[in-house]
Amino acid sequence: MEIELYVFFLFSFALIFSALRVITVNNPVKAAIYLVFCFFFSAILWLLLNAEFLSIILILVYVGAVMVLFLFVVMMLDINLAKIQEGFVNYFPVGLIVFFVMAVLLIFFLSDQFSNMDKNIIQEITLIGSNNTKNLGYLLYTEFILAFEIAGIILLLGIIAAITLTHKKNILTKYQNPSEQVKATKSDRLKVIKDEGQKQ
């Protein structure tokens, strides 16, 4: 047994445990914290697979940004926990059956297909150097430049969609409505009143 195998087993068991806690814990804040642990352990396992750039991205972007967003939303909402948990016991057998069927089928298939692969999968992939980040950047800006730009547009779309969904229109702000201005006619603004007092 090498040290790599020990590290792999330690962090994979921790990963499985925290993933189980995410789906069974009844408090959404605790679930978010366990999800942070999940991302952290998988970042370490990705380091073992020589994907250094992606593991740092997972910690910086996921734990730093997306999970903070999750925690913000969880804290903003005042959730009735008892009402949310009411279906849990009823669905528990179904969830257990789904878990076992899916896991047994996948593991059966995978161990049938990939059991005698004695190739070492922890290997450095070199393209223009031994630096993982350098290689990824090279591929990203040459071969996948269109996909990279589309990813930027998708992020912009996410920003716009989130803002338009949650933005409340402020009533106190004074603004002009051009269509109302164009529609206005003379009779809307000017009212001719006959002067009754002049006759007498």
Binding site: L35, S42, L45, L54, I57, F99, N135
Partner: protein, 101 residues
């Protein structure tokens, strides 16, 4: 040397756990979103494993794009939850049909 099968079994277990989580937490849309995040994590694991197996960096590039799309998706999903809570004072999945635009 860690066999490839161990990593594949780990990612399939993660996938099954998140699938069971979707069944278990049918009422709580926040945990549903978190289950989907774990599902994407297991898919990313598979991409990196097979990319290493085939000695190709395209798998890691793909993970990069998946991370981008998932970040946008979870931001929009959380915005929808905030809108739902503002209108109905609950985040029950059954109430989502009542949003109506």
């Amino acid at each position: 040397m860690i066999p490839m099968l161990y990593y594949l079994i780990l990612s399939s277990l993660l996938f099954s756990i998140s699938l069971a989580g979707i069944f278990l937490n049918r009422k709580n849309i926040l945990i549903l979103l978190m289950s989907i995040e774990i599902m994407f994590l297991s898919i990313n694991f598979n991409f990196i494993i097979f990319g290493n197996f085939l000695v190709d960096l395209t798998g890691q590039i793909f993970v990069f794009f998946i991370l981008t799309v998932v970040a946008a998706e979870s931001a929009i999903g959380l915005a929808l939850i905030v809108v739902l809570y503002r209108n109905k004072q609950s985040i029950n999945v059954d109430d989502i049909g009542k949003l109506k635009g």
